[in-house]
Amino acid sequence: MSELITLFVTSVLINNVVLNQFLGMCPFMGVSKKRSSAIGMGLAVIFVIVVAALITYAIYYWILVPLNLQYMDLIAFILVIASLVQLTEMFIKKTSPALYKSLGVYLPLITTNCVVLNVCLVNISNSYDFAHMLVYSIGTPIGFALVLYIFSTIRERLDIANVPNPLKGNPIAMIVAAIMAMAFSGFAGIV
């Protein structure tokens, strides 16, 4: 049990996907300008990653391994992710048009969010058992959502700050990310 808690804390804070592994940089830069869209994106990513991890895990061990087709993992996984994102999009559109509107274009873009594919691949390459897989697949996107939210609150303040011209926009955001990474490296001592 304590091992699972360690894995959870590691995947949320210490080995944070964005600040430590540099994954999901595109939505991190793109969707972080407003707090509300950061929250929506964070929740959508958590949902997609958990479901995608469960499905790809099942596909790998129930279909690809018995058939000796392990080398097809990448192609099978990306197809699952693409169709899952499409499905989520259709589902949200039907059940909650308001949420659909607020997420806008960012919903289909989850397909090319490297965090999703990375979680599916790491589950397999680290040969996690079911419990570890579940904890890792929940912890990683929570870490993503957390950092995205913190980053978006800083960026809202950054809009009114006086920044040197060449640094305006993304470069200053990168420097903010650097300082956040520095702060998060302090968590390394926890476990």
């Binding site: 990448l74 490297c114 490296s185």
Partner: protein, 219 residues
């Protein structure tokens, strides 16, 4: 001439990494050593050129509604082929690049070029575009990894990717007492990226102003 201009723009002004902010994830992650950067650059160029050529060749028979899934499957297949080749012939590179080789599938540069260029242009143009954009990416990662490796270890070390033991270049540029290990960490990656992107943006504004002044003079 036009083709050459396109090619040149991809290298500096419209550099896919520092200008258009595509493929940032892998740029930040694998630029700890120049060796990794060269390997990653080569892999991206190969995937990009092949995917651009295949997609532009089949662009007329792919229905518009399902083009993205089709593109992604083609790219995933190519990446898997390259990954297996790297695993077989350059195992050391495979270990150090790790999960970032399969993650080329979701590298925005590749799908972006497929969607924006290859699905609208001929095979030869698409191949050239792939080479230009791929080189732009490679130049960006090599520049970044050079800064990071030299500042953090003081040593520039390049080995033959197919044979670990064969060292091509190993020079000490900064004595070990004066290195800044921070640049090897994520913090250094973000800072290096920010400063290079800011430098490119400053250069662009400067070039635009110069062109404007020239246009005024002509008037």
């Amino acid at each position: 001439m036009n083709r050459f201009e396109n090619f040149k723009a991809g290298l500096i002004k419209d550099n896919p990494v520092f200008g258009l902010y595509l493929g940032i994830c892998s740029t930040l992650a694998i630029t700890t050593t120049v060796n990794n950067a060269i390997g990653m650059g080569a892999a991206v160029i190969m995937v990009l050129v092949l995917s651009n050529m295949i997609i532009s060749a089949i662009r007329k028979i792919v229905p518009d509604d399902i083009r993205i899934p089709v593109f992604i499957v083609i790219i995933a297949t190519l990446v898997k082929i390259i990954q297996m080749l790297i695993e077989a012939y350059a195992p050391a590179l495979n270990t150090s690049l790790g999960v970032f080789i399969p993650l080329i599938v979701v590298n925005c540069i590749i799908l972006g070029r497929a969607e924006a260029f290859a699905s609208k242009h001929g095979v030869l143009d698409s191949a050239l575009d792939g080479i230009g954009m791929g080189l732009g990416y490679t130049v960006a990662v090599i520049a970044m990894s050079f800064i990071r490796e030299v500042l953090s270890t003081g040593i520039l070390n390049i080995v033959n990717p197919f044979n670990d033991a064969q060292v091509w270049l190993n020079v000490t540029l900064i004595p070990a007492d004066y290195t800044i290990p921070l640049f090897n960490s994520p913090v250094g990656a973000f800072i290096t990226f920010a400063l290079l992107a800011a430098a490119l943006s400053a250069y662009k504004t400067h070039a635009d102003k110069k062109a404007e002044a020239k246009a005024k003079e002509v008037k």
